[in-house]
């Protein structure tokens, strides 16, 4: 908060209804007017409070007994000395333990973060620095898939994970197996494979923005030294791209950890492989039977992304900015 940009922007952009300097008059209206100038700041903090209250309520309730939750609002249970960890004990020791679903979430989120980064980094480098025919149309086609709703691919993908993929050609009486049935139905593997595919356009777009902006002379110097693309990529581009790789990794990790649609489609009722999102969604659908452990479970589910988010927010924001402001 020390740059000159900030200093000037205090007076420049102001608030949506900036009030011109009220010091011009001394009448009662002008004086009251000066008082009103602090309203925008108050409004900002009011919004902050409103935005925080729902999460705070969940957090407090997760430490209150079933009876307390049912009889009074969370704002009457703010004394931490009355709190109990009974709800947390219950979700850890439940038949369908939250520990198991946390593991499943990890088993989805970690490969679904690492693998797309690698593949997209190759492609981003290829599109940025290897000259080949059809490069630009291919790149635009790839990136234009950014906005494709993933619903469009879900039904065939589920069929593929259930039965593999095969092709029947006219004039022949045999089906040709293109992708054999790997028995992936209902597994976390199916989920992260799907995530990998869907992440590709955005990952390529984000990494390409960055990698294509690396200084050209670095590459030329390396090429003169006789380095092949593989060496340049490995020795130069990857180390230089750590910031954007981190940005994408955080973005993708949060996205896959929090995903519900793909997991619910691919895993559904297979209890052993369910990630945390399905677990808490099922708890919520129990018509109040497990209402008391719901806040605790939801908080455990949100805990990992919130930690990741607050510790690495800078990279996350950078990823968002690169994806949007740069466009």
């Amino acid at each position: 908060m020390s740059s000159t940009t900030t200093d000037t922007s205090i007076t420049s952009s102001g608030d949506p209804h900036p009030i011109d300097d009220g010091s011009g008059g001394s009448g009662i209206i002008d004086r009251a007017y000066r008082l009103l100038r602090s309203v925008p700041t108050g409004l900002l903090w009011l919004i902050v409070v409103v935005w925080t209250i729902p999460t705070l309520g969940l957090f407090v309730n997760s430490f209150r007994t079933r009876d307390a939750q049912r009889s009074t609002g969370w704002w009457k249970g703010l004394n931490p000395f009355d709190w109990t960890t009974a709800n947390y004990d219950q979700i850890i020791n439940a038949r369908q333990s939250i520990g198991n679903s946390l593991l499943n979430s990890m088993a989805i989120a970690i490969p679904a973060t690492i693998i797309p980064i690698a593949i997209a980094a190759f492609a981003a480098y290829g599109f940025a620095w290897i000259d080949f025919r059809g490069r630009k149309p291919l790149f635009i086609a790839t990136v234009s898939l950014l906005a494709v709703p993933l619903q469009v691919a879900l039904i065939p993908l589920l069929q593929m994970f259930n039965n593999g993929a095969s092709l029947t050609l006219p004039g022949l009486d045999k089906t040709i197996t293109l992708i054999p049935d790997f028995d992936l139905a209902g597994t976390t593997t199916a989920v992260w494979l799907t995530h990998t595919g869907f992440a590709m356009p955005f990952a390529i777009f984000l990494l390409h923005n960055y990698i294509s902006a690396l200084p050209k002379d670095v590459f030329e110097a390396a090429r003169i030294d006789g380095a092949a693309h593989f060496t340049i990529f490995w020795r130069l581009v990857l180390p230089l791209s750590i910031p954007v790789l981190a940005a994408f990794a955080i973005f993708q990790f949060l996205w896959t950890w929090n995903d519900f649609l793909i997991a619910n489609t691919m895993i559904g009722a297979n209890v052993d492989e369910q990630p945390t999102t399905i677990l808490i969604a099922n708890l919520a659908g129990d018509f109040g039977r497990n209402e008391n452990i719901l806040p605790a479970a939801a908080f455990v589910q949100a805990f990992v992304p919130i930690i990741v988010f607050f510790s690495l927010q800078r990279y996350f924001v950078r990823g968002l900015l690169a994806g949007s402001v740069k466009g």
């Binding site: 908060m1 740059s3 900030t6 000037t8 952009s13 209206i29 009251a32 009103l36 925008p40 900002l44 902050v48 935005w51 309520g57 609002g73 593991l103 088993a107 970690i110 490969p111 693998i115 492609a123 290829g126 000259d131 080949f132 635009i140 790839t142 234009s144 898939l145 950014l146 494709v148 619903q151 469009v152 691919a153 879900l154 039904i155 065939p156 050609l169 004039g171 045999k174 494979l193 869907f198 590709m200 356009p201 923005n209 960055y210 670095v218 593989f230 180390p239 750590i242 519900f260 808490i280 919520a284 659908g285 719901l294 939801a298 949100a302 992304p305 927010q313 900015l321 402001v325 466009g327």
Partner: protein, 750 residues
């Protein structure tokens, strides 16, 4: 805790520069390099430890070894890393981070070493990563040989082809001598590799075209002959001339077509296509096992010869051609894997969904557009029968009134300033309020999934963007900016499912005889009690609402006095609202304000709002959840854009005598218009896909169904594949305009 502004998101140029790409390479090469040995060493140490702990059967000793190994390895690397990082970030902080990371990793490893599930997951991931990485690196290393070591490349490439052929034929037990365990399995690939390596070496040494042709045709024929001889009896195909002719012809046509597209020799394409078509026709059309050795030789030798001719046609490439191959191979190696994933996971399934949407629900019969027709004929998804109701709805009438006002003001402004509508002028406020209320009136009169989706798009996009912009502007340059922005941004980290659960508790409604546990109903019922009650609390309420009204009126009055019509009219609207609230609260109009009901015998009882169950407004309460999340997104992006507006522009405007509000409306806002467009399109796409919130809170009941949830239920719960596919395509079509807009924007930029 790292907050938004930490290390300079306020320093926009810096962030944008980093996001867009580094400007200099100095100081960058050194920093990441030091992180790599740390990552690699801890990773390797951790994996070694898991394996070791596994071997030692998860005993306490094993766990201890895990900890010790990891700690030693990481500590050593930390020292090296810190040493290298001397001109990097603060050392103390770095060491602290590493220490915490090491401790956490050790704990995780101890626990992971004793979990079957973790191990199996780890192995799956390792196999996937290591397997694909070695293929990728192997391909790179192979093509690294092209330029200067043609003979070696030739041998390796031919060897790889032979190996694959051996695996496919022998591994599937199509040839004699297979099926006797691993060793006999290995024979096929080994023999294949040996034969092809020899062929590759010989060809790379032969430059005489005639010799090359003879060698390759001979080799093709021989290999085809041998394979044909070795095919097991039950796979020998019967000779089916029709299928062979058909598919050879198709293959030739495709091959010639591709060659023509690639501007290469047509004969080559015809030979390859024909050979592949021949194989397809010979093995795919005929009954397997019905043929004899002769037919199986015909099936293999003919394509062998054709491929041999194709091979013999090409001379050994000279240095320039080899460079060309080197270069072209890289484009395939680098871009190929990603395109393969996109193709298998997005493109092909997308096309298949379109196909499935034209079939019936069991994917058997072709029904054309029936599935789409069903969507629009179903009153649950599209019901406009009550459209006349909109004209009598309050929001519609008031909205129309506002629009009429906007029209009048617009005409006046047109005469005065030449601009009918301008951001910040008096026309803007009634126009926006009017449009919003009008669309609200329209949407409440119509029903159905599609209408709900439209409503979601309009409300969430508009409110999130407006709120995000408001917060970005309000917080800009204020004290505690980074903290306030962090708190508003935080919901972005929470899953939609988690957010839904959070808000379910906020919306909770309980019987009025007991205390309310949901914040909103507690406030609402409390307000009702306050408004209908008497005594000091009610009086305080009256004073508060009165003061708010007076404050708003004062701003309006000042606007009028200073002839700032835009502000006057905006606050005029707010004043009407505040006045109405005040009058209701003091029961000058109606009986009071808040959640209460007056029973026939005159007593006042509390009454809750059923936020989730009461249509059509429950849709709005569901949207609030997404707004809660997306405001943070809009805020971060817009805040960065606002800070990136060049200060010279603002200074210049101020020197010319522009007020702060004019600067905002006429300088800042036009400058960030593109960014607003990006935010809006991103949110629109996201909203069209909204699924989790509706699924968790209502599952589409109480008139809250949206397309994405309907699609999921139809396709995966009711087994109506055709209907589900049609809904998916509908979602796709609705974001198509946004996609087109994005593509055109991208092309413009280049």
């Amino acid at each position: 805790m790292e907050t938004l502004e930490d290390e300079g998101i306020d320093d926009v140029e810096h962030v944008l520069a980093e996001a867009a790409g580094p400007i200099t390479t100095e100081g960058r090469v050194g920093t990441p390099l030091s992180a790599r040995p740390f990552l690699i060493t801890t990773g390797v140490a951790g994996l070694a430890a898991i394996v070791l702990a596994n071997v030692l059967n998860g005993s306490v000793a094993a766990n201890a070894i895990v900890v010790v190994l990891t700690l030693i390895a990481t500590a050593a690397v930390t020292v090296i890393a810190v040493d290298r990082r001397q001109n990097g970030i603060r050392e103390g902080r770095f060491i602290a981070i590493v220490a915490v990371a090491v401790a956490i990793e050790a704990l995780i490893l101890i626990w992971a070493a004793n979990q079957d599930k973790v191990q199996s997951t780890l192995i799956t991931v390792l196999v996937a990563v290591a397997g694909s990485a070695s293929i990728w690196i192997g391909a790179n290393l192979l093509f690294n040989q092209v330029r200067n070591r043609w003979k070696r490349f030739s041998a390796l490439a031919f060897g790889a082809v032979g190996f694959l052929l051996g695996v496919v034929l022998h591994g599937n037990q199509a040839t004699l001598g297979s099926g006797g365990g691993f060793l006999s399995w290995l024979i096929g690939p080994l023999v294949g590799t040996a034969v092809f390596v020899a062929l590759g070496i010989v060809l790379s040494q032969t430059d005489d075209p005639k010799m090359r042709m003879i060698i390759s045709v001979g080799a093709g024929a021989a290999i085809g002959l041998v394979i044909g001889l070795l095919i097991r009896e039950q796979y020998q195909p019967e000779f089916d001339f029709g299928a062979i002719a058909l598919w050879t012809a198709i293959g030739i046509v495709v091959g010639v077509g591709l060659s023509a597209l690639g501007k290469r020799a047509l004969v080559g394409g015809a030979l390859i296509g024909g050979a592949l078509g021949w194989i397809l026709g010979a093995w795919g059309g005929a009954d397997l096992g019905a043929g004899n050795m002769a037919t199986s030789i015909i099936a293999t030798a003919v394509p062998g010869i054709a491929l041999g001719i194709r091979l013999g046609m090409t001379p050994n490439p000279d240095y320039k051609q080899r460079s060309e191959i080197d270069l072209r191979s890289r484009s395939y190696i680098f871009v190929g894997p990603a395109l393969l994933f996109i193709f298998i996971m997005l493109v092909v399934p997308g096309i298949r969904t379109l196909y499935l949407s034209l079939l019936d629900n069991d994917s058997v019969d072709f029904v054309g557009g029936e599935n789409y027709g069903a969507i629009f004929n179903d009153p649950n998804s599209f019901d406009v029968s009550n459209w006349t109701n909109m004209f009598t709805s309050m929001p519609f009438i008031i909205g129309a009134g506002f629009l009429a006002l906007a029209l009048v003001v617009g005409i006046i402004m047109k005469q005065r300033t030449g601009h009918a509508v301008e951001l910040g002028n008096p026309t803007a406020a009634p126009l926006i309020f009017g449009l919003f209320l009008l669309s609200f009136g329209v949407f409440t009169a119509l029903r159905g999934t599609i209408i709900n989706n439209l409503w979601w798009v309009v409300v969430v996009t508009f409110v999130s963007t407006a709120m995000g912009l408001a917060v970005a502007v309000l917080a800009d340059g204020k004290r505690g900016e980074k903290y306030s922005k962090s708190f508003i941004f935080m919901p972005m980290a929470i899953s939609l499912v988690g957010a839904s659960i959070i808000w379910r508790f906020v919306y909770a409604a309980r019987d009025t005889s007991s205390e309310q546990t949901g914040v909103l109903n507690a406030l609402w019922v409390g307000l009702g009690r306050l408004s209908t009650g008497s005594g000091l609390p009610t009086l305080i309420g009256t004073i508060v609402f009165g003061l708010i009204l007076v404050g708003v009126l004062m701003v309006m009055a000042r606007g009028l006095v200073q002839r700032n019509w835009g502000r006057a009219i905006t606050f005029g609207f707010v004043a009407v609202l505040a006045g109405w609230i005040f009058l209701r609260y003091t029961a000058i109009i109606g009986d009071g304000l808040g959640g209460f009901v007056i029973t026939p015998d005159g007593t006042v009882e509390g009454q809750t709002v059923l936020f989730v169950q009461e249509p059509p407004y429950n849709n709005f309460w569901l949207m609030v959840i997404l707004i809660w999340i997306q405001t943070g997104f809009a805020m971060v992006i817009l805040s960065a854009a606002i800070k990136a507006v060049p200060t010279e522009l603002i200074e210049a405007a101020k020197i010319d005598g522009a007020t702060d509000s004019q600067v905002f409306w006429r300088v800042t806002l036009p400058q960030i218009a593109t960014t607003i467009g990006v935010v809006v399109t991103t949110i629109i796409v996201l909203v069209m896909k909204v699924y989790d919130i509706v699924k968790v809170i209502t599952n589409g009941q109480f008139g809250t169904q949206v397309l994405a949830n309907d699609m999921f239920n139809q396709a995966f719960q009711f087994g109506n594949t055709g209907q589900g596919a049609a809904l998916a395509i509908l979602i796709f079509i609705s974001v198509l305009p946004v996609m087109v807009y994005n593509i055109s924007r991208m092309q413009k930029e280049d």
